[in-house]
Symmetry: C2
Subunit: 342 residues, 2 copies
Amino acid sequence: MNDRFLRACRREPVDCTPVWFMRQAGRYMADYRELRKRYSLLEIVRQPELAVAVTLQPVDVIDVDAAILFSDLLVPFTPMGLDFEFIKGEGPSIHYPIRSASDVGRLRTFDPRESLAHVLETIRILRRELHDRVPLIGFGGAPFTLAAYAIEGGPSTTYAHTKAFMYAQPEAWHKLGAMFAALIADYMRAQIDAGAQAIQIFDSWAGALSRSDYREFALPHSRAIFDQLSDSGVPLIHFGVGATAILNDLAEAGGDVIGLDWRLPLDEAWARISDRAVQGNLDPTALLGPRERMFAAADDVLRRAGGRPGHIFNLGHGILPSTSLEQVQALAKHVHAATLAG
Amino acid sequence: MNDRFLRACRREPVDCTPVWFMRQAGRYMADYRELRKRYSLLEIVRQPELAVAVTLQPVDVIDVDAAILFSDLLVPFTPMGLDFEFIKGEGPSIHYPIRSASDVGRLRTFDPRESLAHVLETIRILRRELHDRVPLIGFGGAPFTLAAYAIEGGPSTTYAHTKAFMYAQPEAWHKLGAMFAALIADYMRAQIDAGAQAIQIFDSWAGALSRSDYREFALPHSRAIFDQLSDSGVPLIHFGVGATAILNDLAEAGGDVIGLDWRLPLDEAWARISDRAVQGNLDPTALLGPRERMFAAADDVLRRAGGRPGHIFNLGHGILPSTSLEQVQALAKHVHAATLAG
């Protein structure tokens, strides 16, 4: 079995630096675009055979050292009673965003083994089909990011509704945060039981918070998830975007591996959280540039990682839809070759 | 004359901490919304009597220690041949975004004293009408942010077009950056000649860049502006958003005052750029919360500033449209009272 990725998560020596890419299955791939002509994103997520096929697409054609379950952060919203849809070119739209304590009170808890059985079935099939070629990563959203989606109703640049809710209704906020923490911890546990060999918690929007707000409103609920999964036996990855100012706080909340965006040079970020493994951190737009420039930028990341155990190569955010598959393939090969040689 | 703001820019002692707010004239004010029923944003900007009226609206009703010219970062685009409009709910839309070296070649330089005479006239009238009540701040965009607007064609979350352009066509990029630097330096000089008593350079999108990209593609062109204005005799403010990872680099590019968003606690940010004045850094969403919570957050900023000369109180970004005028009024009074007492 290729266990480079799992070994790096545990900060054990590896033969070469493991690579995977956030959104390695997605719109940049012709096979995926072809499937999306017939099925919506949620239709793919809800039909295990389709989700399995999409998850495996990059594993078959790119030298990645991990597969990541094809799903969406908002999948738990439906069984909670938060209906949503994806609007072309805009992203998710929640039909009735949460704006009051009574909205929070109306949310339902659920058993992921029943309500999200299709996700767990996808994981079980994937483990069989992967034949231990590479480990399988499961994932979920951090409470702040999920609550912000639920309150904003969709993408936001200011998070004005979310923060106004936090400040004016802290009790309802913490009830919502605790509810997401319990549900996501349970959902992640179910993913692990079904066969997920690592878990990534995405706090994609945490970077919008000041440090004091992160510590008051987000950290306790994220920590609850990591605490509840600490005996799970699988590596836990904690990823935030634009989170330079709260990197230590994010690490304090938990995670064996801290996922970094591209803003801080990797060595500086790693020096701040030296007791963890790190994942990252090439700017996804680097893949849109000339190949030699992309390689040079990747080499800079590798040079800053310095060959120390505990580095997983990834982008600082998901692969952009306009990326060419050939660039992704070349990058994965390059990272392996460069670190084997070193 | 109330010269608290100018004294703080020069890190001289003040009787109490000066306050102004980014977007202190804007949609959160009923008077402004009333005017916008009859005139578009660009119509207001282009008619000095209207721009003067809007600039003065907050000065008349809020205890601010500076006025800021009512205008828009993209005003120089029109005389460059980059037509644009504001689309309701979406922001600016550039009709023919720049995507190639030949697009850059077609851009026109201009003399702001002719092509933007209306802005300079607004400044002259404002100085007369202000009667030295408070100083007047002029402003312009940093080359990276302006180039990114011109290339993306409007707001972006990924800056994929901009960065792909930088990486693939660095020569054309630097030509564009140098052109913006020369035009903005000239435009700022014209604003100062017309009466602007301080200048703020907005690099609103610089936080999207990795440090190495900022240093290669943005810093040289921003520095050119600060260098060319260094003998102007007025304080220069340099403001970025989400720029925690490049704060020192931004300061290296120039500015007597560094404008901070809310992500990094003010004392930490100031420790990193201790040879400058700082402006900020309350999260604009704090004004959407309960008053006592807003005061406590402002007090935290003031405590971290520690009464040292060289702090201008401001938000970490513009006032949000959903903010109530009463909160803004109360906040300005509170900052003055809290620092007079201290």
